[in-house]
């Protein structure tokens, strides 16, 4: 930290460690002191109204004090973020530090009890005691809000307080005094960065007469249970240690969509002999409060959910009713003794990602957000190998609505290839060509909403599982690319006989050609897609 406006000429500074440490030369390097001579120090002794001399310090004290945090070790002691009084320091951060941009001393009188507003102290002869040296003590401590017990955290790597003794007419310094964040530091309020000051009428190196009081206020010796309280607290900053990961929200991560017997439009599976309906998948969502492996009980929280647009193949932007994707039994809770809380998530009919975020307002007294948890409602294990066979081609993608419309089970992709090959072997060679494969399923199945309504009101109720595919009427001839109208008899026989599947009349409409994989394999497909 640079100190502007000073000329670095000479310096006299003493660094005195806490009661249990020794001075080391390297400390100067560790703390990166910038030492300069303070310019313009004025020592005055104006006559008071009562005729007594009252000294004042023209410039007196430590400036630029702040609590700072270092995100990584490489940030220390360079890039730091200043923590507001009452602010937070993340558990994940590397270090918290007290910094001072300068320490200056310009003399004056020693105030009674260290109170600058109090009259100057006098000796036994009535002489005003002039400040000849001052001591500043930095301290990081934690005062348990529940018990009131204060623990001096010490300043790493030395432990204990950081004490600077400076004498008049010389020093200006600054420093960074870090405390490394560890699991030994509890989360919560109660952390304090403090600065204490003492003044002395004796200059640094002066002999102290026997019985004389060297420091004002007097130093209190530290014991095992009592902290050293050196002087008067002249600055304090409070902060909280916070773990952004203390609140967590987890689940298995995916559930299969529901296919009820009735609902929006036709919602049956179409597999009356295999599975007339598919129960909505469910998952356990667990919210836990935990810090450094220890559970935090009694944390009240709420869970919000947000639809993740453009997920699972739905490119249309209007969100669906959220319950049609997934929902929870409860959206508020409190962690138990184990630090955890669990509720059940239920899938809807629409495949999509849903973002679940848990927020606690009473952890550390401020808002804590966990997660987010991204839960997928969808049939899994579908693929799209591409139209990598001359007998087929892809059609039906609708820009901005559904462009990934050829997802299916491996069995479906194999089936349509068999079907297309068989079809071309059954029709006259001149009419052989590529079959137009229209909609199959979206990447994770579920409702394939033709009209972007998030329902099957417009049809496609069977395009949910990667087992079905629509076939275009235009077969593009191999010979010249022109359209040959598809031969229904040949398609039916290719689908039902050679490929062993089903040609379904999905609608009572001559334009609709819809095929399905062999019924024998549907059970295993559904089992795989709904783990």
């Amino acid at each position: 930290m640079a100190v502007g406006g000073f000329t670095e000429t000479c310096a006299r500074v003493a660094v005195v460690r806490g009661p249990n440490t020794k001075i080391r030369q390297e400390e100067l390097l560790v703390h990166r002191f910038l030492i300069a001579v303070a310019a313009g120090m004025v020592l005055t002794s104006p006559a008071a109204a009562d005729g007594a001399h009252h000294f004042r310090a023209a410039v007196n004290g430590v400036t630029g004090l702040s609590v700072e945090r270092y995100a990584t070790q490489s940030d220390y002691p360079g890039t730091a973020a200043v923590v507001d009084d009452g602010g937070m320091i993340f558990r994940r951060d590397y270090a918290v530090a007290i910094t001072a941009s300068s320490m200056t001393f310009t003399g004056g009188c020693i105030h009674q009890n260290g109170d600058p507003a109090a009259p100057c102290a006098v000796d036994s002869n009535g002489n005003v005691l002039e400040v000849r040296k001052e001591s500043y003590t930095f301290r990081l401590s934690y005062k348990d809000p529940a018990t009131g017990v204060e623990t001096n955290l010490g300043i790493s790597p030395y432990g204990g307080d950081e004490v600077f003794t400076i004498i008049p007419e010389s020093p200006t310094s600054s420093g960074v005094f870090p405390q490394y964040v560890s699991c030994g530091m509890p989360l919560g309020q109660g952390f304090r960065a403090q600065l204490f000051r003492q003044q002395s009428p004796y200059a640094f190196g002066d002999p102290i007469p026997k019985g004389a009081q060297e420091w004002y206020p007097a130093t209190t010796p530290a014991t095992k249970t009592t902290l050293l309280v050196p002087g008067t607290e002249v600055w304090v900053s409070h902060f909280e240690l916070f773990n952004p990961n203390a609140l967590g929200i987890i689940s298995r991560g995916s559930v299969n969509p529901a296919v009820p017997l009735s609902g929006n439009g036709n919602t049956q599976t179409g597999y009356s002999t295999v599975a007339a309906e598919i129960a909505p998948g469910s998952d356990l969502v667990t919210v836990s409060a935990r810090d450094c492996g220890k559970p935090i009980a009694g944390v009240a929280f709420s869970i919000s959910r947000d639809f993740v647009a453009s997920s699972a193949g739905h490119l249309h932007v209007d969100p669906p009713a959220l319950d049609s994707v997934s929902s929870l039994d409860a959206y508020v809770g409190t962690t138990g003794a184990s630090g955890s809380w669990t509720t059940t998530l239920h899938a809807g009919e629409v495949s999509s990602l849903m973002k679940y975020t848990a927020t606690a307002t009473n952890v550390l007294g401020h808002q804590v957000t966990a997660g987010p948890l991204f839960e997928l409602t969808g049939f899994v294990a579908m693929t799209d190998p591409g139209a990598n066979d001359p007998n087929i081609r892809y059609t039906g993608a609708v820009a901005g609505v559904h462009t990934s419309n050829h997802n299916g089970s491996p069995e479906l992709h194999e089936f349509v290839r068999r079907l297309a090959a068989a079809y071309n072997s059954l029709v006259p060679a001149a009419d052989a060509g590529s079959l137009g494969l229209n909609d199959m399923s979206l990447p994770f199945g579920g409702v394939f909403d033709l009209d972007a309504s998030w329902t099957t009101a417009a049809g496609h109720s069977r395009h949910r599982f990667g087992t079905d595919c629509d076939i275009d009427h235009c077969v593009r001839r191999f010979s010249d690319g022109s359209c040959a109208n598809i031969d229904y008899d040949a398609l039916k026989r290719a689908a039902k006989r050679s490929a062993d599947g089903i040609l379904i009349r999905e609608t009572w409409n001559s334009d609709n050609l819809h095929v399905q994989v062999p019924e024998d394999v549907i059970g295993s497909i559904l089992l795989r897609e709904t783990p």
């Binding site: 059954l426 109720s461 006989r497 062993d500 999905e506």
Partner: protein, 322 residues
């Protein structure tokens, strides 16, 4: 089955039963109920004959479809399960066929067959992906109309017979015709019309991939090696409750050391030996007509034991009409 250079044909009539719930009304999700023509083909049967070409070591299975006049729709196809146990090359030039093979995707464990249809312009045949032999009209114009019969469907295989499932499927041409008459709806069906609900399901003799464990020894005989002179793919019990006035398959596998001259068979005391063609290591498939009273079928054959001595295996099956 007697080793013979000529094909010994056995006329067999398959028994068929109706399976599946049939409906003619289908609901669209706009509330409209569509009534479609009934595709019932309940009385449809398949005749099967099995013969053995000893020279080629090939079993010949010949099928015919009988579509009674009571059928409400044409018969489009029948499928026979010929799935097997072990992988085999699916193409065998020793097996005669006249179909145009479409690309084959069946499982390698499908039993290899050669397929012949009577008229390649009217009929197609092949193997489905799931291991089913299919015979189908080429187009709906060749569906087998009610009151007609079509034979000449042949499957050749090197595997001996067993009882396999068969499905006879009606043509949905009447639905196509109804569609052409309209009206048209774009709404989807709650449960799409599926002509498979009119499928007739039964069993028929066809190539099977049986192991010793699949064969019943007929019971009773000692020692075991003698009891194995006659083993059965069907039936698997000596006393069977059956439908009255039905036909029951008797599929017998002969031991490798039998003496064909020592074979005898009778049904309720009437000699029916001529219906069988015992040969060491061979097999026979014969149907037994069962009336309204209990029917007993007795088979016996002599053979040579490992010790060089001889023995006689004798089995009796009692069919109990219900």
């Amino acid at each position: 089955m007697r080793l013979s250079d000529s094909l010994a044909a056995l006329a067999i009539i398959a028994t068929v039963t109706v399976a599946g719930a049939q409906t003619t009304k289908y609901k669209l999700n706009n509330g409209v109920v569509i009534e479609l023509p009934d595709l019932t083909i309940t009385g449809t049967t398949i005749d099967a004959t099995v013969s053995y070409d000893a020279t080629r070591g090939v079993f010949r299975y010949e099928y015919a479809i009988n579509a009674p006049a009571s059928n409400l729709a044409g018969v489009e196809a029948f499928n026979i399960d010929i799935s097997g146990r072990i992988a085999r090359p699916q193409s065998d030039p020793a097996l005669a066929e006249n179909i145009h093979r479409i690309p084959e995707f069946q499982k390698p464990t499908t039993i290899p067959v050669g397929i012949t249809v009577p008229d390649t312009n009217a009929w197609i045949g092949g193997i489905g992906a799931m291991g089913r032999l299919f015979i189908s009209s080429r187009t709906s114009a060749y569906d087998l109309v009610p009151g007609s019969r079509q034979g000449g469907f042949i499957a050749e295989s090197k595997l001996a017979p067993g009882l396999r499932s068969v499905e006879i499927e009606p043509s949905d041409r009447p639905w196509q015709d109804a569609l052409q008459r309209g009206p048209q709806y774009n709404s989807e069906f709650d449960n799409p019309p599926d002509s498979r609900t009119f499928i007739v399901k039964s069993n028929v003799v066809a190539p099977a991939d049986l192991t010793d464990a699949d064969l019943y020894n007929g019971g009773g005989q000692q020692p075991a090696e003698v009891n194995a002179f006659l083993r059965y793919a069907a039936p698997h019990d000596n006393r069977l409750k059956v439908a009255a006035n039905s036909k029951q398959w008797l599929i017998v596998y002969y031991g490798k050391t039998i003496n064909p001259a020592g074979f005898a068979a009778d049904q309720d005391g009437v000699d029916i030996s001529a219906r069988f063609h015992p040969a060491p290591g061979g097999a026979d498939a014969v149907q037994i007509s069962v009336g309204s009273t209990a029917t007993k079928v007795h088979l016996s054959v002599s053979g040579t034991k490992a010790s060089g001595g001889t023995g006689t295996d004798s089995d009796t099956f009692t069919f109990l009409p219900q």
